[in-house]
């Protein structure tokens, strides 16, 4: 599996060692990022679940009061009552950076600050149920906005966590082991080359020594032959 098509050279080895170091460092950092994101994410999700069940419950209540209101009024009258809103909402969005994930933070600005002054109709022609419904909706709305913010944050963080997790795993299970394998391969190949060189040198030295010895012997033999008859010559070497 390992990437064995590397050049077994010292330069490649140095390069791979550097790569391994970077990969390990990156792995550690990304893992930390993943853990911290996960922590934040779980907090967000817990908050989100609470918020959502609360908002859904309240909205259902609002819907039922609207249903009651529409039963007491004609559809046209109701539509007419709600047609021209008195209130208007403007939303500004800023960003909060959670572990390099940009999550939106919403701020809203209503045209009238008084929450009791949101009814866009005269009270004479409408039923009281409608007032209650609109007022309740106005209250839910703040939670709904918070819900939107939290939910979007959770979605964006989920995406980022998924990305980070994949990166961590790719580094941990692919890049780092492959690099280590390549490094081991190169080290072994270089050691093998070293041993081969040593043996070759020893062999060469042996041959040279044998040659030198041979030469020496021949010289001695010649000397013995030449001076063999003289009395000072050693009888043997």
């Amino acid at each position: 599996m390992a990437n064995t098509v590397v050049n077994p050279t010292r330069m490649e080895l140095t390069r791979l060692k550097g790569k391994l170091k970077t990969a390990q460092r990156g792995h550690k950092l990304l893992k930390d990022k993943r853990d911290e994101l996960m922590k934040q994410f779980l907090d967000t999700v817990r908050e989100l679940r609470e918020l959502r069940s609360q908002v859904e419950e309240e909205l259902m209540r609002v819907h039922s009061s609207f249903t009651v209101a529409s039963a007491l009024m004609s559809a046209q009258a109701m539509e007419q009552a709600l047609m021209y809103p008195k209130q208007s909402v403007e939303l500004t969005m800023s960003f909060q950076n959670i572990m390099s994930v940009n999550v939106p933070v919403y701020h809203y600005q209503t045209r009238t600050d008084d929450t009791g002054d949101i009814f866009p109709y005269g009270f004479a022609a409408t039923s009281g149920e409608l007032d209650g419904a609109v007022e309740a909706l106005g209250k839910v709305f703040q939670d709904m906005l918070k819900l939107a913010q939290t939910e979007k944050a959770a979605q964006l963080m989920a995406e980022e966590i998924e990305k980070t997790r994949r990166r961590v795993n790719a580094l941990e299970y692919v890049v780092i082991p492959n690099t280590q394998d390549s490094i081991r391969y190169i080290t072994m190949k270089l050691d093998e080359n070293d041993r081969a060189t040593t043996t070759r040198l020893m062999k060469v030295k042996d041959m040279l020594l044998a040659e030198a010895l041979e030469e020496k012997r021949a010289e001695t033999a010649r000397a013995v032959k030449t001076f063999g008859n003289s009395s000072e010559a050693p009888s043997e070497v």
């Binding site: 809103p85 208007s88 419904a133 959770a154």
Partner: protein
């Protein structure tokens, strides 16, 4: 950072979304899924930061919603319509947990 002004859209069947008009939100009453789908894409191109969508329609346009999931705007938030909650909002939370963690741990 940039603090442009955005609007809030509410998309759903007429009876469910009418009340939001009184709050000053922009309301898009739609009758069919087809209409909801094209309205959603239209809204997404405009300056809307948050889109509230009733679950009754959302159930049939998952692919369209998924397209905006990783975008910063709009945030598509499911709300129960007047027929009641389908539990989709909660299911979506669960889904994003599964996506992030790889398992449902809550």
């Amino acid at each position: 950072m940039a603090a442009n002004s955005y609007q809030i859209a509410v998309l759903g069947d007429k009876d469910s979304v009418m009340g939001f008009k009184a709050l000053g939100l922009t309301v898009f009453p739609v009758d069919s899924v087809e209409q909801a789908r094209s309205t959603l894409h239209h809204i997404a191109r405009e300056d809307y930061a948050v889109v509230y969508l009733t679950e009754q329609f959302a159930a049939q346009m998952e692919a369209d919603i998924a397209r905006y999931k990783d975008e910063l705007t709009p945030a598509i938030i499911l709300i129960p319509g007047k027929e009641g909650s389908l539990g989709m909002g909660m299911a979506n939370i669960k889904k994003s947990v599964e996506r992030a963690v790889g398992a449902d741990i809550l």
